[in-house]
Symmetry: C2
Subunit: 702 residues, 2 copies
Amino acid sequence: MVDAGLAEVCRETLAEGGLLIPENTVKEWLRDRGVSVPPGRVADTLEMAIEFARKVSYPVVMKLVSDRMLHKTEVRGVVVGIEDESALRRAYHRLEDAADMIPGAPEIYVELQVPPGPEVIVGLQNDEHFGPVLMVGTGGTYTDLLKDVAFRTLPVTETEVLQMLEGLQGWQLLKGFRGAPASNVDSLVKLVTGIAKLGVEIAPFLDSADFNPVIALPGGAWIVDAKITLAREELPDPFAFERPRTDHLGGFFDPASVAVVGASASPGKIGNVVVDSLVNHEFKGKVFPVNPGREEIMGVKCYPSLEALPERPDLVVMVVDLAEGPELLERMASLEIHNLLVISGGGKELGGDREKVEEEMAALARERDVRIVGPNCIGAFDGETRFDSFFYSHERVARPPAGKMACITQSGTWGCAFLEWARTTGVSKMVSYGNRVDVDEGDLIAYLSGDPSTSVIGSYVEGLSGGRKFLAAAKGAAKNGKPVVVFKTGRNERSAEAAVSHTGAYGGSYEVYAGALEQAGIITTDSFHELFGACKALAMQPAAAGPRAAMLSNGAGPMVNALDLFPVRGLELVTLEGESVTKMRDHFSFFYLVENPVDVTGSASAEDYEFVIRTLLADEKVDIIMPFFVFQDTPLDESIVERMELLAGSDKPILGCAIGGDYSRRMSARLEAVGIPVMDDVTQWVAAAAALARWGKVKPKK
Amino acid sequence: MVDAGLAEVCRETLAEGGLLIPENTVKEWLRDRGVSVPPGRVADTLEMAIEFARKVSYPVVMKLVSDRMLHKTEVRGVVVGIEDESALRRAYHRLEDAADMIPGAPEIYVELQVPPGPEVIVGLQNDEHFGPVLMVGTGGTYTDLLKDVAFRTLPVTETEVLQMLEGLQGWQLLKGFRGAPASNVDSLVKLVTGIAKLGVEIAPFLDSADFNPVIALPGGAWIVDAKITLAREELPDPFAFERPRTDHLGGFFDPASVAVVGASASPGKIGNVVVDSLVNHEFKGKVFPVNPGREEIMGVKCYPSLEALPERPDLVVMVVDLAEGPELLERMASLEIHNLLVISGGGKELGGDREKVEEEMAALARERDVRIVGPNCIGAFDGETRFDSFFYSHERVARPPAGKMACITQSGTWGCAFLEWARTTGVSKMVSYGNRVDVDEGDLIAYLSGDPSTSVIGSYVEGLSGGRKFLAAAKGAAKNGKPVVVFKTGRNERSAEAAVSHTGAYGGSYEVYAGALEQAGIITTDSFHELFGACKALAMQPAAAGPRAAMLSNGAGPMVNALDLFPVRGLELVTLEGESVTKMRDHFSFFYLVENPVDVTGSASAEDYEFVIRTLLADEKVDIIMPFFVFQDTPLDESIVERMELLAGSDKPILGCAIGGDYSRRMSARLEAVGIPVMDDVTQWVAAAAALARWGKVKPKK
């Protein structure tokens, strides 16, 4: 029995300069936890080996085990397929000879040989963003070629392990591919969950662990090889993470008064546009331009310093050189101002001294109780208070109305796209946080999770400052009934590098992100357009009870395109039958095609659309209704708006799509005004439908 | 020697009721063609087998060969790993016994055993769309799971075979994966090309042929197993295809006079909108509404029949029930009218009698020298003559100006999107051909290839009527300096089915399409948005000399996104160095990031853009320049338009992208007016850049 002593063994091994837990020890630990490893033992003598082999029966395998050696096959330290005693004797002597040439006094381990079968690899590692994670993948010859792996953060449940396996391409091999018998999945799930538990226990010492191969036979799964490599020093608590902090965050959205440090009188300058955004438009709070060289800007009195202001502002917007940040922070703290929004860039993306300025600001923020958004960002927007600090003139960027969607983003450019696309549907709050020296995505999600005007949160991520913090915040939001939709870029090495130079954020492996986000119930997307579409769908329509979708259109091309994407996104095309078909067949001219997708042809009227959608609403087999509108077709009259308004409040989601020019866009906006979201791209349409189905699975049950 | 007699052997085998060419015969054929098959022979006696094994040396393999048996392993008809004479004797007797139980008097074949190595599968088949095709794929355990295959139409060159192999995921295995020795690729290419040549010879008899596995060793590639299954009857000439026919096609774009059969006086009816499109807008030709029940429509005299018209029209547009089609055709022929455009649907997509109507029309068209576009379509548009037959009112769909892009499409909906998106760039000709009873995509491409106003052809395809015809037309266009860009849907079973009900077109396997289109030098895309973007880029910018791209932006988020897509699309991110870096470093403030992608930050002016682009134009390492414009950023002044105009005529392509609302769209349109294409989506941007690189590889060298 090892149990509580695991940490002790790791600690001792480290103390003795070892970095490896020998295979036999790992297997013993696992055996003690009820994980199926083949019967095996260390054989100090040939006789012990023979006796053991006789007991478990041939064939057996023998290998050298040690806390030093890393590449068993390189030193010919493994003999497989030992069929009888004479072969065993030969193998034993060979291994004895090999052992003499290896430092660390390896021992000979003999175990029952597991017959061939579908191979799985299991791994444990400490990820730099998410801490201890579990990896499961398809094993065998093509492992490295396939890169067919799934990750989850530790700890995991058996259900999560099953989901990991089901998500692999190689899942088909486990389910019995081409007539082969199926593997015992239940046993495999238990085995992987057991490895994960061990991972939790030894996490503070873990560099990486490989269980490769695990063989998943019809009768049960077995760990054939196991290796644990230790970190060079003990990590204090790899599961620890900072909880999201929401204190003072309200000040970024509803400030009664704002000071702009670096306000400028020159049109086109960033410090000028920011003042314009605050002074000349819908924001009702007080605005104090700060610039020692000016008396007034845009007719508003200008002040030489924060100290000279007639009252304490709730928020400071900083547009001056970042190097002035630490001093500004000190002065804000003295004045008890708790919110600083730093638009200025030129921080850690440049490295060196500039990076140090950010570090100093980060430390001061905590010390002096000031929250910072930025630097290197476009700032914040509130749909209700109409606060915004953008250096986008109103002529160039019309601000959207108040709405239910929130957007948090590392990239201001994407944030701007979100605002502009939301002209009809509105935005509750938007924050571009750039280099995120203090307020990060975890803080913002936690804050928005409690914000009554927000019902869905979209998040553009290049890299996270705290992985587990982000996941905890997202889980909290979902629990609160608010879906979190993420679009993550920086997925390959070059793009991750570019993200670093841009906001100083390291991307990390997308596979780890994908698994961790999935596990936290987050809805992931593959473009910003998809992210926006998913947010819009979730803000305007109920979750889908399942993935079974029905489409209808007066032009079929886009539906064929959508169907190509259905399997990739986990949507199912319902086969319509029974009453639905009879009703439509009776109602329509013979040339309407009343199967799914329903092709109402170019002759379709708005009444035809209403009839089909009512039929699909009544059909229990349909979870999501997806009308495509060729608004350009003249027979489709504009009564479609009132008709769709009647249907918009249904508890089954309706998700439209329309593609074209000005008229289509106007009609789409009119439908959105009555509650029907309309996508403008087929990929976005399918992704948004998938988001509704996913949210149906994730959201808390009533 | 078999040579010219191959066809004879196939014919005889069929005559005798055989459907299989025995392995030994296939291997003999291949050996005669210099393809490497292992030494082997039929051994009528045990002694012959022993003698042969001694000659080629052990290990050998023995198997039963016959023109009847299909599953050798099922009847235990193969013995591998025969290491010595005693094992050979045992195996020979076992096979003799097995042979007695099998009809068709199988013989025993003995051959040298090929050692294990990377496995490849090679196949031949007669595809229903493209005729004889060659398939190459990754072999081994996961073949079916990986579905890692490439297709080409026969015949193929060695270069094409090499491209097939390079396109496989499994290519890495052949190049020596994880330190394994590389396979002899040259030998493998020769082997596959040899199989392809055999395929050409026996194509008229071919059902399918499998060469699985082929083992690609460092010393050379070997065909281990070979099987040819014959078609039940000889195909007259599987390589034959109808040549594209362009006769009379001009009549669909530049008719001096048009009759509308089914003209309607009721607003909103299709027959009404078509007359409106022709009569009340820019089309200058004569229009004759035909409707026996009306005196006039929209102030234009109406006629009871074609025969009653004051002159012979060049073109008839048909909006009445399709069942009237054959009679109308007869009457047109009598009047020597050669062009019929059928908007009416309700043809083969409904099956039964309706399908027969189409067949009758198809036959009549040929017989009576009438060309038909449609049925079930929206018709045609000409940017110059302003002819259009759409049932989209001008209020709903503004027609684009004349331009260089042509679009041919099975789906009217996608065609309409193309027109609307082309508001700034213009369209030469657009044709929606729906069920394509006569004029098909091959005819249209051939016609457009000779059309002086068209410089690039976009084609939306659900299924093709004639695969080789299409490929021949596309190759002809490329030779003529006109790229063909294709977006193919109906890629999975369900979507292909939907395409059938929609236009009666069967999709077929996308893998075969992908390979055939690649081989013909066609540019393929994965969405209609990409198709449009690629056409626009190709119409406005020169081809790229290579795949090395450089990006710049005043907002970095979209560039990180683009970089995620670069490897998938075959683009390379150039590392800038030397003079480019020095010049920019000297010129810019320290916080501009002068690596690739170039981040000119939110402070960038139009002059900054011009400076970077001029630097990149002068850098020989850069093949494509990709500026992203955050037009919303106030510092980016509108002199960007004149500055870009100066750069637009460069012989290195410049491809912009901008995302946002009204202002961005206006600015993008202004840039396009001076010759710089601007995409509105990152995926589209990268796809269009890849299209420029691909066209650089495909287009004829001067």
